[in-house]
Amino acid sequence: MDLSLTAVYSALSASQTALEAEAQDLANVRTPGYRPQVPYFESALAVVRQGGDGGEVRLPWGVKFQPGGPSTEPGPLSASRDPVHAALSHVDDYFCVQTPQGVAYTRDGSFHLDAEGRLLDAHENPVLGEDGPLKAESGKGRILSDGTFDTGATGAPQKLKLVNLAGLKLDRRGGQMFTVADGREGAPGKGGLLPGEVEGSGADTFKGMSELVMLLRWSESVQKAARASDDAAGAMIQSAKIA
């Protein structure tokens, strides 16, 4: 079995998957609250033969690309004139929203109020407070830096629910939303809010374009390696003929 060719195949397919992840991040360079994927490569091993004692012998097979969890690099903040827009000050904190499929977490703080005074996210999902969905009976509200949703009403203040998801495995749900993979609960949020700011995309054009160049050079060198391997095989066949 020609291991060099299987390694070439695995490298080309890993570079294509990596390019897809890169394309996704670069397509979202202007999406508020977007968190890019932390890519990682791991060497792949394959069972290629049974050893003499019946045991398996594992040989390097090439490389595999795994799109990792969301990056915790914060996106740039931009000022907003909307009183119910806010950004999170701690990099591992998330807002909680109620989607039809259950609770999801997001960094995108471009919220708005609907006609009934409910606080909704950009996808019309209710934003959750400590005691359930937030609502301004007066139809007017603003978010304060300590997490209070100030509606001008008297009584106990409503607070936005923030969770800290550091160290948990997150699944992407689209629309800049995440869920926790194994259904575990996040810790209470560790930071406060930055009212009047919206977090931009964490995807960085400079980083993305340089990674793109590296990926291309990598595929090019894999191509060269494949040709060299092919040439060597050809030369071997030629020399066998002469003999």
């Binding site: 070439v8 080309l12 570079s15 294509q16 390019l19 897809e20 992840a21 890169e22 394309a23 996704q24 670069l26 397509a27 979202n28 360079v29 202007r30 999406t31 508020p32 977007y34 799109p67 004139r81 909307d82 471009s110 708005h112 109020l113 609907d114 006609a115 009934e116 005074g117 950009a122 996808h123 139809g139 699944d171 992407r172 749900r173 689209g174 629309g175 800049q176 869920t179 993979a181 054009t205 993305g208 374009m209 793109l212 990926l215 291309l216 595929s219 090019e220 894999v222 191509q223 494949a226 040709r227 092919d230």
Partner: protein, 251 residues
């Protein structure tokens, strides 16, 4: 399947939509009471995918949000230029008699003496101003008074209403600064003794609300949009190059 091309293409078409919004903002930087629009970007994933997360499918423009902040009030000195200082809308009547709404108070009197919006739609309230009326005054609450031709006594000519909405972001634009009420905006709310304090704005005669487009911000958006478009197009080239390397494994 190699999805990098489709993902990058979604980036290009989304930035194109964003460019339309930026162009609309720049074109309306001097339009009275115009509200700047901004595209809402949304990360797109397929429902099913590997390892709990969906497959990456790029980005889409989920809609255009309007910035509802009031523009500056600019004095024009014209009798029928009315600025609304504070929240609210002027109700108008369209050709079918349906109520529509605007904040652009550049009104005029038509040949039949009726008060109309610049789009030609009637201002609700049926205000009639006979030709030759002098000393026209519009009070803060919208009461219109003037001296009829040949008289030096001021009489009431009608009242221009101001209405509010529970969620003005839900209003649907129909062009020329005119909006329709929708289910999400809720019906027009009128200040009455039973409605509670709606906090509606007051009318200022001889002034207009200017566009709330921040031209510098619009130029920055223009540059960002163009660069993001370019980035997506570079990814397409890169994907093409990578496919080329695969095709040329064998000389």
């Amino acid at each position: 399947m190699f999805r990098a091309l489709e993902i990058a293409a979604s980036g290009m078409s989304t930035q194109q939509t964003a460019m339309d919004a930026v162009a609309d903002n720049l074109a309306n930087a001097e339009t009275p009471a115009f509200k700047a629009g901004q595209v809402r970007f949304e990360e797109l994933l397929s429902a099913e995918g590997a390892g709990g997360s969906g497959w990456a499918q790029g980005v889409r423009a989920a809609g255009v949000d309007r910035d509802l902040v009031q523009g500056n009030i600019q004095n024009t000195g014209k009798t029928w230029d009315l600025a609304l200082n504070g929240p609210g809308y002027f109700p108008l009547l369209d050709g079918a008699g349906k109520e529509v709404y605007t904040r652009a108070g550049n009104f005029r009197v038509d040949s039949e003496g009726r008060l109309v919006h610049k789009s030609g739609l009637l201002v609700a309230g049926g205000i009639s101003v006979p030709n030759g009326t002098q000393n026209i005054h519009v009070a803060e609450d919208g009461t219109v008074t003037g001296n009829p031709p040949g008289s030096d006594r001021s009489v009431a000519l009608g009242r221009i209403e101001v209405v509010g909405f529970a969620d003005e972001g839900g209003l649907a634009a129909r062009g020329q600064g005119v909006f329709d009420a929708t289910d999400s905006s809720g019906p027009a709310l009128r200040q009455s003794s039973s409605s509670g304090e709606l906090g509606l704005g007051t009318i200022q005669q001889g002034a207009l609300e200017s566009s709330n487009v921040d031209k510098v911000q619009a130029m920055v958006d223009l540059i960002n949009t163009q660069r993001a478009y370019e980035t997506a197009s570079k990814v397409i080239t890169a994907a093409d190059d990578m496919l080329g390397y695969a095709n040329n494994l064998r000389r």
